[in-house]
Amino acid sequence: MTDHSGSKKGWADTKAFRNGFLGVLVFAAVAAAVAGFLPQFRKDHPHFAIEVMGAFFAVYGFLAFTFIVLVGQHLRKLVGRKEDYYEERE
């Protein structure tokens, strides 16, 4: 079913792809953040004052994701057990 023989690098493993992907990502992210300050991309009637800040969604997205990963991983210490934890008890 599965051939374990291959170890050849694929296109996604090349440095060129990774740098290219990162470059496009940074460009698009910065462009979206800048667009948030342009009047034609602003909401006419924002629901909350914080939305008026042009890059609010960018900052919030970055911080939320970082918080989830950096804080969330510590949940392992509290709830993580051996893989066969339940098998041993059932």
Partner: protein, 583 residues
């Protein structure tokens, strides 16, 4: 209930048509198993034709014990779920085209049929019947692999599902006592004075169990991943969405749902982050996604209900697509562990592309199905000026991107190279995934047909998902979150996957609960033994005494000599003479 009217009410019901297909399929001998799924697909198509032929309205009106019942109600709410249930059922049948397992094939159609019957139910008795059929038929999918672990998980699953049914039945009885009717409409959690009413609470809990409310949610992570890879996909669609449809009908505008939904969107994000089994990650994703829908129902406006059920529609397609992509990887490699996968893009490129389409849809990137429906829910929070809920929804959106948008495709197809070089998924799987991916993009680009299906189309007439500000806000949120991921990977702060079992609420009944049950069973046994011993000692003592008197060796069983009898008679006679003389 008249037999003729019952027959015609059943015959016209699309859910019954699908059930008949499932039963007929189950009778096909294993030697002809190859025709089972094509036959079932014909019944799904027939059911869909019947659905469109009927049009909006109420059908199958019956009298049960003198009370009016409506077995089939096709209104905009139930129609939306009926349409997507047909799409999902057909795609799931195609996906596992190779299946030759009679019980699994039966359940793959009977269970969706039951869920369909539930969303189409116009009265509470009909809802209850389909509710229980859905519970019983779906457990066959959990038991599919046939191991001890799946048997135990199936029993736990069945217990919880039946508990939901019992609560529903109790709620129905109380609703009938209050209203004198079995009609299935808005019930509400509180009475006119604002106090919580028992009928509403029981039904709320019954729906809440199936919707996997927090602390009632763990049957999803416990049972679903233990089914076969194809069974998990079927399971992922129906039960929770039947609950969402029921909540939307019975509890729109129930404020408690906003808080419950907010918790549902947040906590699974953290459990999904640390979970190594990608099937379980997707199960946590179900909780998170249903949370968005529950919040939409909680706001209770026409726009938010549209958002909730519209999101359910699109979620069924893209969540299934993600399950299918992971299922294809499992089918080819035999594992769903992130630690054992990676690098599959080299030999499963089409599956990888479909997974990315599913991931972008669930993350709500513009151009994909999630974007045109999730925005309705987030906007509803804005319209209600619910600032904290609005922040929670944005936070949860970043969380969805983390576990479903990035983790699933990244650890399956990229990340570290597992060295596995499996073949591409079989054509049937590719077809099902391809159609799902097409729908994700088609709905994302052209959402109007979906908007027209929504319960309140007039409320979505002025909604423009591709308004420039909306696209920019969403792109800011998602692209900067992806950027955060890239930075965390580059600085090696993104946590490595670790094989582990992560405790969740099910620990309460699987470990201490199980121990308590074992202790209670032992205590009952000990008390029984003691009572039995005491009772049997007294009983045996009495028997022994009777035996000593009446038994073969007993005093009363002795044979008496004739001389003794003559002497005794003389003594009695003498005593009689003495008494007579004295008298």
């Amino acid at each position: 209930m008249g037999a003729d009217s019952l027959f015609s009410a059943l015959a016209m019901n699309p859910a019954v048509i699908m059930i008949v297909g499932a039963v007929l399929g189950a009778f096909i001998p294993n030697g002809y198993a190859a025709i089972r799924r094509p036959l079932m697909l014909i019944f799904v198509a027939t059911s869909a034709v019947q659905l469109s032929r009927l049009g909006l309205g109420e059908y199958g009106a019956l009298s049960i014990f003198g009370e009016a019942a409506t077995m089939l109600r096709l209104d905009p709410l139930s129609r939306l779920f009926a349409v997507v249930f047909h799409i999902a059922t057909a795609l799931n049948l195609v996906y596992a085209w190779h299946s030759r397992d009679r019980a699994q094939d039966f359940a793959s159609l009977a269970y969706p049929a039951a869920a369909l019957g539930g969303v189409l139910a116009g009265d509470l008795i009909t809802l209850f019947v389909w509710w229980e059929i859905a519970a019983v038929t779906s457990v066959f999918l959990v038991w599919g692999p046939g191991t001890r672990a799946t048997f135990l998980a199936g029993m736990r699953y069945l217990t919880i599902q039946i508990l939901s049914g019992v609560l529903l039945l109790a709620g129905i009885v109380l609703v009938y006592r209050e209203t004198g009717s079995f009609a299935f409409g808005e019930i509400g959690l509180r009475d006119a004075s604002g106090a919580i009413k028992a009928s509403g609470l029981l039904m709320f809990l019954a729906f809440g169990i199936k919707a996997a409310f927090p602390l009632l949610h763990n049957w999803v992570q416990d049972a679903y991943p233990k089914a076969s890879f194809a069974g998990t996909i079927v399971l992922s669609v129906f039960t929770t969405k039947l609950a969402v449809a029921s909540l939307a009908r019975a509890f729109p505008g129930t404020e408690e749902l906003i808080v419950i939904g907010a918790v549902m969107t947040i906590f699974p994000i953290f459990f999904a982050l640390i979970e190594n089994d990608l099937k379980k990650v997707l199960c946590y994703s179900i909780n998170n996604q249903v949370g968005f829908m529950v919040i939409g129902i909680g706001f209770g406006t026409a726009a938010s209900i549209n958002g909730a059920v519209g999101y359910a529609f699109t979620n069924i397609i893209f969540e299934s697509l993600l399950f299918m992509a992971v299922g294809a990887a499992i089918y080819r490699t035999g594992t769903s562990k992130a630690t054992e996968l990676g690098g599959l893009y080299k030999t499963m490129p089409l599956t990888m592309v479909f997974a990315i389409v599913g991931a972008m849809s669930i993350s709500a990137f513009p151009g994909f199905a999630g974007f045109v429906t999730k925005g309705l829910i987030i906007d509803a929070a804005g319209d209600a000026h619910a600032f904290w809920i609005w922040l929670v929804l944005l936070f949860a959106s970043a969380g969805v991107l983390e576990h479903a948008g990035i983790k699933i495709p990244y650890f399956t197809f990229f990340a570290h190279d597992s060295g596995k070089r499996p073949k591409e998924a079989p054509p049937a799987m590719l077809l099902a995934m391809g159609v799902s991916a097409f729908l994700c993009i088609a709905i994302g680009v052209y959402p109007e047909p979906l908007y027209a299906l929504m319960p309140y189309p007039e409320a979505v007439a002025d909604y423009h998902p591709y308004a420039p500000y909306h696209v920019v806000e969403q792109l800011q949120l998602l692209l900067w979150a992806v950027l955060a991921f890239a930075v965390l990977i580059l600085v090696k702060w993104y946590p490595a996957e670790i094989p582990s079992a992560n405790l969740d609420a099910d620990w309460l009944y699987r470990v201490p609960g199980r121990a308590l049950l074992g202790w209670a069973a032992a205590a009952v046994m000990a008390i029984w033994n003691l009572l039995w011993r005491l009772a049997s000692m007294r009983f045996l003592g009495a028997i022994e005494r009777i035996y000593s008197v009446h038994g073969p060796e007993g005093a009363l069983a002795r044979s008496w000599p004739t001389g003794f009898m003559a002497l005794a008679t003389a003594i009695v006679l003498g005593l009689a003479l003495l008494i007579a003389f004295a008298a």
